[in-house]
C-alpha cells in the first residue's frame, strides 16, 4: 500500500435478523437494537443497528485490504448517525471505502468512509495496520 491509494469499496447488507444475531453473539442486548417500542420511546427513529456491528463491517474491510487477519493495531470511530434496521424482508446497504493516508516503516494509516444511502454513518473512522 502507498500513501494516497484508494482501497476497493466493499458493500454489506444489514437486516433486522442480523441485529438479533449480533446481540446474541456480542452480549449487547440493549432493547433499542430489537424493540421498536423501546427505541422510539427514547427518541430514536426506530430500531437501530449496534454501532459495533457497523464497526465490525469496517474491520472486515480492513482484513480484506490487508490480505490477512491480525494486522490491525488501532481502530476508532464515532457513531454519528444511527443505521435503522428495517423490520421487514428488506435490508439496508452499508458501504466501506478507504484511503491510505500515511505509510511508515512499520505502519499503514487508513482513513475510512462508511456510508448508508447518501449519509456517512461513522465519524472519522480510521485505522492503523501493521506494515
Amino acid at each position: 500500500m502507498q500513501t494516497g491509494d484508494t482501497l476497493p469499496e466493499q458493500t454489506f447488507t444489514v437486516t433486522r435478523a442480523d441485529l438479533v444475531r449480533y446481540a446474541g453473539a456480542s452480549g449487547d442486548r440493549n432493547p433499542i437494537h430489537w424493540s421498536e417500542r423501546v427505541a422510539t420511546s427514547v427518541g430514536l427513529p426506530g430500531v437501530i443497528a449496534h454501532g459495533m456491528f457497523i464497526m465490525a463491517l469496517a474491520a472486515r474491510s480492513l482484513d480484506t485490504w490487508a490480505g490477512a487477519p491480525g494486522k490491525v493495531r488501532e481502530l476508532s470511530c464515532k457513531f454519528t448517525k444511527p443505521v435503522v434496521g428495517p423490520d421487514d424482508d428488506r435490508w439496508v446497504a452499508v458501504r466501506v471505502a478507504g484511503t491510505v493516508t500515511q505509510v511508515t516503516d512499520d505502519a499503514v494509516h487508513i482513513s475510512l468512509e462508511v456510508t448508508c444511502g447518501d449519509e456517512k454513518v461513522l465519524g472519522a473512522p480510521k485505522a492503523v495496520l501493521l506494515g
Binding site: A25, M55, R60
Partner: protein, 138 residues
C-alpha cells in the same frame, strides 16, 4: 436523572476470566457476516469482553444508568496483539471522564483487557451517551 457524579475516576474490579473458545469466535464471525477458520479472532471481538465490564457499570444500581437510554457515542481499540482461541481475557474498566451535555451524561470509559498472565492484549475506549429521561416509559 444524571448518573452519580463520583463515577469519574472510578475503576471497577476486573471481570471474571472469559475463555475465548473456537465456538464463540465462530459465532461472532458469523454474526458479522464472516467466517472463522483459525488464526486471530475478528478485530472487534474484544468488545465482547469489554462489554462485560460495561454491563457491570450499567447494571450497578448505585450508578443510576438505564440501559435502554444508552447509545454508543465513540469507540477506539488499541491492540498489543490479536486475540486468539485459548486466551483467558479479563477487562478492568475505568471511568476516565464524565460530562453532562444537554441533559445527557457523556461517560468516557477505558477497559484494559489482559490475558491469564496479566499481560496487556487490547485497550477498548468506549464513550457511552446516557440520554435524558423525557418522561416516557419503555
Amino acid at each position: 436523572m444524571p448518573v452519580d457524579a463520583s463515577l469519574a475516576g472510578r475503576t471497577f474490579p476486573p471481570t471474571a476470566p472469559y475463555t475465548v473458545t473456537e465456538e464463540r469466535v465462530r459465532e461472532f464471525a458469523a454474526a458479522t457476516g464472516s467466517s472463522y477458520d483459525g488464526g486471530p479472532a475478528p478485530v472487534t471481538f474484544p468488545i465482547v469482553v469489554a462489554f462485560g465490564a460495561m454491563t457491570a457499570l450499567m447494571e450497578d444500581p448505585d450508578v443510576g444508568i438505564s440501559l435502554h437510554r444508552v447509545v454508543h457515542g465513540e469507540q477506539r481499540f488499541t491492540y498489543t496483539r490479536p486475540v486468539t482461541v485459548g486466551d483467558e481475557l479479563s477487562a478492568a474498566l475505568t471511568v476516565d471522564t464524565l460530562r453532562q451535555i444537554g441533559g445527557a451524561d457523556i461517560i468516557g470509559t477505558r477497559s484494559e483487557i489482559t490475558d491469564a498472565e496479566g499481560k496487556p492484549v487490547c485497550t477498548a475506549f468506549a464513550t457511552l451517551v446516557h440520554r435524558a429521561d423525557e418522561g416516557g416509559t419503555p
